[in-house]
Symmetry: C2
Subunit: 155 residues, 2 copies
Amino acid sequence: MLRMSKLTDYATVLLAHMAYERHISSAGELAEATQLAGPTVSKLLKTLARAGLVDSVRGPQGGYALARLPEQISAADIIDALEGPVAITECSAGAGQCELESVCHVGSAWQRINRGIRTALGEVSLLDLQDRASPLPGLDLAAEARGATSSANRA
Amino acid sequence: MLRMSKLTDYATVLLAHMAYERHISSAGELAEATQLAGPTVSKLLKTLARAGLVDSVRGPQGGYALARLPEQISAADIIDALEGPVAITECSAGAGQCELESVCHVGSAWQRINRGIRTALGEVSLLDLQDRASPLPGLDLAAEARGATSSANRA
DNA sequence: CTGTAGAGGACCATTTTAGTACTATTTAGC
DNA sequence: GCTAAATAGTACTAAAATGGTCCTCTACAG
């Protein structure tokens, strides 16, 4: 578990396809190409357009195309567009929203883990996702999560 | 989003408390101490016991205690116990479960990201979660996610 | 034996997610 | 202008996951 929603997954498939075919395509064409249900594709593209990840053109010959170069769209962008900011726990979305704060010994660890994951996802571009041959860049979760100091007291 | 369930969050609170109080406590006492609802605490502890993260003793004076030292219980263990294996996409749980594989250009990237996150969570122990002063160890998501080679083609 | 405490399910209510449908708006082409 | 192709926006429904509760059974200390 700890998973993102199916729609987010579909969105990556869509975007990866759009990165592959560089030209503008209608929602219908994209649905056809990706084998996803038409209405779902429409809905996703509208959301992605609102988030600024794709540009839309209305009217006949209209359709959608990536708003930026594939390498400038990150996995974090996609997740943000569809699910809002990454937050593995409710607390980790921000401070002070947790009524258990006084008794809870968990503290800020999740928040740091969260930031780390988020940073890692920010490092992965659509280009990395799209091209199955490309070796992922070094997801440097470490840097952000490390936060303060530390290195190893691990077993 | 991309979040773990509330129950998992509660479980960390519980376990962190158990790591703090080293002695055996009944479900009721733990509920009291953590301000979580009694039945929910019971359910969680049962699940955790089944997963082997806590030991249980029945009968009067019974209760629960950590089965291992706090530093030997990882965030990944906790998530695994409550939600099953981490898998941010359905595909990433394993290969061949995706009927879109032929048309999907996304390939294995998510799987590698997933492994990275999982490894990172495996590096964080209950001790790190419990002690709010402790600086997290370096979550080396990089190593696993990098997988093959690569280092930087990032902007 | 009796009471306390966990084990294991079954169950229900709520929320979230996925998917669909409908109406309005824009615009190319005739 | 008119028409048709396409997106924009929103509302709605169905299904699934989640969170939470309850009930019965078993183990064991006193």
